[in-house]
Symmetry: C2
């Protein structure tokens, strides 16, 4: 998606450790007009998939997911991150390894929001190692629902998550796929 790539080039900042800072428009300050254009793109990609629910994960996926849900005319559910193991039985859970912060955390979704018959589009801001996306898809499958695919804003294509998930058969659509990046510049996949 050209608009997003241009924005990443203009306002993204590459930091040590393969960190791409896009917090001026994507995940701290949020440009909701840009999100509207991204939402249309996700709709173009998944409009024939009978999506009836969108699943994302707190916190930075929520804005993009909500604006995408307007276009799909469906509700959003966000998975909550939890470090407590003390969980009631009425939730689906999955473990997610955090590469950014280290360690493992649980993600949690109340069972009342997903069941067989649901066709779920997963939305998130970043795809790198694929840990969060794997956990979210796991939760959809636990519910007996269908994960129709994942719509991602920015994929770090030089990290293994995207390839790993596509090899498993998940449809992953990323609006901007970064082939390489350094403080000197960002190259996108073509």
């Amino acid at each position: 998606m050209q608009l997003l790539e241009e924005r990443i080039r203009r306002d993204g900042k590459v930091k040590d450790g393969n960190v791409l800072k896009v917090d001026s428009f994507l995940n701290h300050q949020m440009d909701v007009k840009l999100f509207g254009e991204m939402a249309k793109e996700f709709y173009n990609l998944f409009q024939n998939d009978k999506v009836n629910k969108i699943l994302t994960i707190e916190a930075s996926g929520i804005g993009i997911a909500c604006i995408t849900a307007q276009v799909f005319d469906c509700p959003v559910i966000f998975a909550k991150k939890s470090k407590t193991k003390n969980i009631a039985g009425e939730v689906y859970t999955a473990q997610v390894e955090s590469f950014t912060h280290g360690g493992v955390y649980d993600i949690i979704v109340s069972k009342e929001f997903f069941g067989p018959g649901d066709r779920v589009l997963i939305i998130d801001d970043f795809l790198a190692n694929g840990a969060a996306l794997t956990g979210l898809a796991d939760i959809v499958c636990q519910a007996g629902a269908v994960p129709v695919g994942a719509g991602i804003a920015i994929e770090k294509a030089f990290q293994p998550g995207g390839e790993m998930l596509r090899k498993k058969g998940m449809r992953v659509e990323s609006l901007a796929r970064i082939r390489s990046m350094s403080p000197a510049g960002i190259e996108f996949c073509r």
Copy 2:
């Protein structure tokens, strides 16, 4: 706002300890159509206040804030919750006491997103003791910006936050104000 009050009566669940569960439409699963109607109401209330930025706090304020920002045609910034004290100098911080979870946490906003001249509308899902709202307004003031007011989905008017903030001179507009609630029913302020 009648639509929101009706939805709270229909789908809200009152739990022990003055807890109102609205996670089927507000803060776990999110009804973005309802959010659209709430956004219009916030716009009716604050349209003459020259709002140029919206501030909220992760996670459950983000969806409402993003959809409200579409109507105001402005960006959203969400404050991050942090338990780390190890913060770089480039952020505004405020301490917030958590009545739900106990203890104190810091909220953080990067300094680059607010400055003098900004007119900031604060959006959040709940107002009870007013701790988060006080912290958010503090951050706006640290930046030399103007907090034009707060737009809240649900105010627990039987808790002290709303009165305390209004007495301090903050304009607080809540779309549903609960006077009392119990498992037998919910009464709204008129």
